[in-house]
Amino acid sequence: MTAVGVKSEREVVEAVREAREAKQPFDIVAGGTKHAFGRPQALSERTLDVARLRGIQSYEPEELILTVLPGTKLTEIELALSERGQRLGFEPPDSAALFGSNGISTIGGAVSADTSGSVRVRHGGARDSLLGLRGVNGFGAAFKAGGRVVKNVTGFDIPKLMCGAFGTLCVLTELTFRVFPRASQSATLMLRDVAPAEGFQALRRIWSSPLEATGLAYVAPLAIPELLGDIGKGAALFRVEGEAEPLKEKVQMLRSALGARDVKDVALGDAAFARLSAAALFATTAHDVWRVGVPPSEAARAAESIGTELWYGDLAGGVLWFGFEPDNAASIAKLRAAVARANGHATLVRAGLPTRKRVAVFPQETPERAALTKGIKAAFDPLSLFNPGRMYEGV
């Protein structure tokens, strides 16, 4: 195992050109927290370590624009932004706890794995925040795409392709984001002791209201009892944000929309959403962790038919997280059936090697779509130098 460390885009170009010459692919790592996320790779002999390609290049709070190098730690970015009352719209969580890693997640890893927090329900995912990038493609050429302004339609929107591509298309060398103002206060209300169908229905109603909620989750009884206590059949969590007076109005409207049911304030609302965002409840368990995307209206039915105890739904039901006993074929079969029925998709976020070898880790593609995916891979990395096989066979 050889690790090549790079400190500049020029060094990345050199490393890629060497890899081309030697026909030796490499894995791209920075914080290393998501190393176990993805298909078990052919285990490249070589690693390209971009952790030292780090730092905030420019941050202009008055422009709401941030440019960083990919190895920059999320903690550093969050600190810089919060000092100016701002945040990343997709609030990527640190993945270290979930994967039992000692590292600290970086922004390049967050974009590549398309991780995002509960606030995504309001501001969208990494794709909606990433305005421009620089990178090095498999031809050994540095290129840029997108721009540094919020409104831009010049050329193809390549930055979106990189969100969730798991480093299979290029080595990122610079990222520019739009950032968002963060209200000074938040409040979380909990609808207690509701079954999934009723809970998700209430969540969707608030999602489709002008409250602009920044957290809409349904939590099964066993998910985060340390923060929520006894929640009976389960609980729906609603978070809203604002300055003092506007927030008061939102809380009042939220209460009246939820009616006279068992609604209470949750003092630890932000902590609860942080835990859900990072899927940190699985940190101390040995479960296989699945993330499932479904139309929100299908969330309750999908969860009930999968029928596991440790689960929750975020983004008003658009995303469901499940913990299964390791390598449990029966649970996986139920999950696949539920996903197919709901016209959704499933990703195996965490599992041991045998499971990741045996089952499709990423959403399964039709042959036509797989051909297009391979074509896109070849457009960026025809020799398959970057993270080979991390997402799909040959990609």
């Binding site: 009352g85 409104k151 392709l161 995307g293 139309p295 297009l372 960026f380």
Partner: protein, 493 residues
């Protein structure tokens, strides 16, 4: 701008091509000269070219069959919605099939549970909102041509509008598409669930200007209508002061629903045209909307007013819904209003970092003096998207050339200040040859390789977006001849 040279071998096969298309869409082939003249361009009047033939499919199966035929026969395809492109995106080719999607205009599903609408590509932008407003919803992207422009065109151009500062461009409101690829194969990308997993191909299809495939269905996010909207009119003694006010509002963490700028000349034209009641003595005017819940909007309007006054503005609020509508109607009519006063105009579409607004406004005035041409400024100030209108008279020798040089200098200035060539109109044929001002060879090579992954024969909209090898220096602009403004009654940008 040089139009692509037609391939004589394709033109020679015209009769067979027309016959083949008639077999696929018996009631939807336009091949006579008079009929084709209706399709000889889009909203850029400077470029006119009748297509080889025009075909108007009724469903996605017909689209697939047309593409399969074109791919087998090696005939270029130019997709077209309503033909309202401001960059020549739908400009036909003499050796190409014009694929008109206006008859595929059904809304297929309204799903309030999942807050989305599934529409065919020929559905107009505004009719999506019309279909859901009864239940208190709307579709946020609102290009000013929204009564005519289509969803397919919006996806292809990643259209913006007045409200994208707060609610995003088309791409941020697009959940999924079904796309027909070059060989006629159809793929579904994205869907009603959050994030699709896998590589985000949907993200690159949005804004691809008809170069990657044909969208045959789109799933659009709809939003609840904000209960309260308040509108401020701020009149400034100088243009840079208005620019500074915009920068200060954004820096204060306020995201207005819309924030539009007009200069003195533009205000005068609009007042002469529709008299919305703008103050005529101001050098610069900002029209600002805040929307949301009552306390939130009250808070924002209070702070915005204060910031505007600190920048020396006189501030007044629209008294009622009637006046609000009038204020906005004036802004939306700015382009036709200018068109009545000026013999000819060029409309630019660059974006700059907001903080560069004061400086760019000063530099543009200097350039105008240097080129001895009039211009006026009207733009989406909140997101730094400029639409300077250069005024000239094509009958005066040399003025067109000076106007084009002025326009190119403005776009180059945008790039130099850290901005981009086009914020919402697209590259099309119009800004094609300016692409190297923003992207180097490697950048463009990477984009072209991506196109190849979708369209190996290069049949989708060839001659658009990417500069040809024989690039002549051209400028990014929209050329409007007096009295022949395309869609003269259509509000613009």
């Amino acid at each position: 701008m040089e139009l692509p040279k037609p391939d004589p071998q394709i033109v020679a096969r015209r009769k067979d091509i027309v016959a083949a298309l008639k077999r696929i869409v018996p009631d939807g082939v336009v091949s006579d000269a008079a009929g084709l003249s209706a399709y000889d361009g889009d909203a850029i009047t400077a470029y006119r070219q009748a297509p080889l033939v025009c075909v108007l499919p009724r469903d996605k199966e017909q689209v697939s069959a047309i593409l399969k035929f074109a791919s087998d026969a090696g005939v270029p395809i130019v997709p077209r919605g309503a033909g309202t492109s401001l960059s020549g995106g739908a400009l036909p080719r003499a050796d190409g099939i014009l694929l008109g999607l206006s008859r595929m205009n059904r809304i297929l599903e309204i799903d309030f549970e999942n807050a989305c609408v599934t529409a065919e590509p020929g559905v107009t932008n505004l009719s999506v909102t019309r279909a859901v407003e009864g239940r208190g919803y709307y579709y946020a992207p609102d290009p000013s041509s929204q009564i005519a422009c289509t969803i397919g065109g919006n996806v292809a151009e990643n259209s913006g509008g007045l409200h994208c500062l707060k609610y995003g461009l088309t791409t941020n409101n697009l959940l999924g598409v079904e796309i027909a690829l070059a060989d006629g194969t159809r793929l579904k990308l994205g869907g009603k669930s959050a994030g699709a997993g896998g590589i985000d191909v949907l993200g690159v299809v949005a804004g691809s200007e008809g170069l990657l495939g044909v969208v045959v269905e789109a799933i659009l996010r709809i939003r609840p209508k904000p209960p309260v909207t308040r509108t401020l009119l701020a009149a400034f003694k100088s243009v840079p002061a208005a620019g500074q006010c915009v920068a200060d509002i954004i820096a204060a963490g306020i995201v207005p629903a819309a924030m539009e700028f007009m200069d003195r000349r533009c205000v005068a034209a609009v007042e002469a045209h529709s008299a919305p009641g703008y103050p005529r003595d101001a050098e610069g005017l900002l029209l600002i909307d805040a929307d949301g819940l009552k306390a939130e909007v009250d808070d924002a309007i209070g702070r915005i007013g204060e910031i505007a006054r600190q920048n020396g503005a006189e501030v007044r609020e629209a008294l009622d819904e009637n006046e609000r509508t009038k204020f906005w109607a004036g802004r939306k009519a700015a382009f036709p209003a200018m068109g009545r006063l000026a013999p000819d105009m060029l409309c630019m579409d660059g974006t700059i970092p907001r903080k560069a607004l004061p400086q760019v406004l000063i530099r543009m005035s200097e350039m105008a003096r240097q080129y001895a041409l009039g211009f006026c400024n009207v733009f989406h100030a909140g997101d730094g998207n400029l639409h300077p209108l250069i005024i000239f008279d094509v009958m005066r020798p040399g003025e067109l050339e000076r106007a084009e040089a002025f326009g190119a200098d403005i776009l180059k200035l945008c790039v130099e200040m850290g901005g981009v060539l086009t914020g919402e109109h697209g590259v099309g044929i119009e800004k094609r040859d300016l692409m190297p001002a923003m992207f180097d060879e490697e950048d463009l090579a990477q984009q072209q390789r991506l196109k190849c992954a979708f369209d190996v024969q290069g049949l989708f909209n060839p001659g658009k977006v990417f500069p040809t090898l024989s690039a002549c220096v051209e400028q990014g602009h929209m050329h409007v001849k007096a009295g022949r403004i395309p869609f003269p009654n259509l509000p613009r940008f």
